[in-house]
Symmetry: D2
Subunit: 231 residues, 4 copies
């Protein structure tokens, strides 16, 4: 089918496949299509961007999952592998100090995460590329500009911003691991460490996940069924 | 040490560590330091590139391995994870058709690979960032502009170009898997396929590796010892 | 908490954590705990299995996800990374030959997959290790002993077998990629290939997923919410 | 070639391929063949080990690299991905306490590593499976039975043991990352921690690498060239 029709977006391709199978064959009553899109950049040469040579982009992947049950179509798009970091503008303090609390309060830390997001569209006949860019840009702008008092707060700002900027999405789910960068203690060597040297800790980490949903969002039905909602 | 001195390049940092251990402690007669550098891009916001928010770049990694044996210092730098693709401008034909040859000749194919390169510098007091950029840009330009009759030819053009452009390197080693994109045969369905739909085959693949060395290169000594020359 | 109480199974540990947070703190109304368990084997020495030396087992991972919403507790356990293969006893034929069908019928093929399974328990006070072993052993036995007419049939046999053998589970979800091993065509070289040499194809592949549920299963409520049901 | 001749071991297969290319074609003066072997176990059923159903074994991989330059043949075999752990019987103390030393002395710690080894055979007509098992079993036995005062000491015991047990190998190279398990400090909560709860630290880690060579080993020639000696 990729040969006989132009592909404009992963959503359009997934819908085309789903409609083909459900509409054409009696034995098929429903279909779920999951598509991923990777990025490539043109290679810069001394005579400008090259005509047919490319280098692979970042690990960020654009995703879509289309479900078609009879005539009902739902589209859930998203992205994964978007790693972002703020070198300042992030605090974390005021949390309950209870049994087994070991975390230390801080008013200036590195905030880093890898964003996985999926959002549910209302309707299946939209300008997919435009909507995708609007959600993605809004999330990045909120991540960068929000003075963060917690990764939870930043996550909510990103989800809320997306709902406000893009009316055609009903809800958004976000999964964001806290990629800790701990300050190395140098007092043993009579050295201070004013946010210069960090230890990038792989494990353990907090995994912050939430859905942000419009008050008047139409019901999701089976749209999320069978999706790896949070990886 | 990262705290008490500015870091300008991975090479400078590795040399500083090696000199520290070998020069300061009698029991240390030699050192090998391997350093990797990852890329981050500033997040674009509506008010321009952000001051302190970043997104992670591509999987391309800058590498260096410094050896110091007594006073002798060698620096081997490189990169890995640089995935590149040409959608045309690549042919492969004229190879011997012998027992068990199954490959089909083609005069227009996709050429794709993941470049791992390591090059050996002469001297250990250079402008490391400038040299790195010169090698990298030359390799990319040669990959893009060489009309390829084989990945072997392209590899040699990339290595030769680097030696010509950057006099301070004595040799360069390249490891480049042939990431095949095979044309899907659609004749069964009475469809042509004029380089429209490909099958990205993961395995098996040809792994093209070679060293390109100046005729008058000074001897490598132990520089390559203990290095994972080709991953 | 790992220090102050013995851990008997991942389920017990997850329940203990969830109960601690929900029961002890007013601000916590619910909790979801996900735990993974890896395997280690004793190293065999000439004097028998070693007392305190181990080697890491296979990539198979035992998983559990416990949800506690107020007093309601649900436990969904499973496994992932269990790679299995049958070198014969597998056929695939009789499927519709429609537009774009390219698959060839076969009455003797390699069947291989990587099993990810999650099953929902009724109740939260069970002999977790015994139940886990019973589900796992049943699935393996069904995979091995079912003469397979399709991976779909094998999946259903595995799920049905688990429900029959282990009354305390209400439903089971299975995700099983078809890890194709295609026969290499050697006719070009005047050689037959009676299931001797195969091409292990990484992509594309069919991903077979299904739930097998008892007719009288109690409702799942929110048990599956927020779970990466199928990876 | 896999079709027309039985394969007995990775070494035999690599030698057969190398000899085929170098001996048959004038334009080929040398060849390097790298082969990996994975493990599969028979599935246990209630009627015993199954005849044709298997589950994938551990991540341990058997490797071989054969070089043939004209008539000269060298065989370097090995293994990678063998993860081992001792829960006691390991100490580390007495090291110099110099500038920037932060490590704390201990007389009882967890010792864990992932073994990558490659050893060079003398000759190319050996009982490969027997030699491989002898090297592997000796290394495991030395890891388990050596009361370790350092991972360096354990590495040397493994290499020395292999040379003593298997006369047909001339040298062995080992690469073993120190997979740290740090004791969690629980004094803040008035709890002791007698080697009960550990923090499995991914980074940073020490990478211990060494060659162990017989005094009278024949020269390696180009055997190691182009090998990823240490990954």
């Amino acid at each position: 089918m990729a040969r006989t029709g132009g592909i404009t977006s992963p959503e359009e391709f997934a819908l085309r496949l789903a409609r083909n199978y459900v509409d054409k064959y009696d034995q098929v009553t429903g279909a779920r299509m999951a598509v991923e899109q990777y990025s490539w950049d043109r290679i810069s040469t001394s005579s400008g961007p090259h005509d047919h040579a490319f280098s692979k982009g970042t690990a960020e992947t654009r995703t879509t999952v289309v479900r078609k049950d009879g005539d009902a179509e739902t589209v859930i798009s998203g992205l994964t592998g978007l790693v972002v970091l703020k070198s300042t503008g992030s605090e974390f303090w005021g949390f309950p100090d209870v049994e087994y609390t070991s975390l230390v309060e801080t008013d200036d830390r590195i905030l880093a995460t890898a964003v996985t997001a999926r959002w549910r569209y209302v309707g299946s006949d939209l300008d997919w590329d435009k909507s995708f860019s609007a959600v993605r840009n809004t999330m990045l702008e909120e991540f960068a500009n929000t003075h963060s008092l917690s990764l939870q707060q930043t996550l909510f700002a990103m989800g809320k911003g997306a709902l406000e900027a893009v009316p055609e999405i009903a809800e958004i789910r976000l999964s964001m691991p806290n990629k800790h960068h701990f300050l190395v203690d140098m007092t043993k060597w009579d050295l201070d460490n004013p946010n210069q040297v960090f230890y990038a800790a792989d494990r353990p980490y907090g995994l912050i996940e939430a859905s942000v949903i419009r008050d008047d969002a139409p019901p999701a039905g089976s749209a999320w069924e069978g999706i790896a909602a949070f990886v």
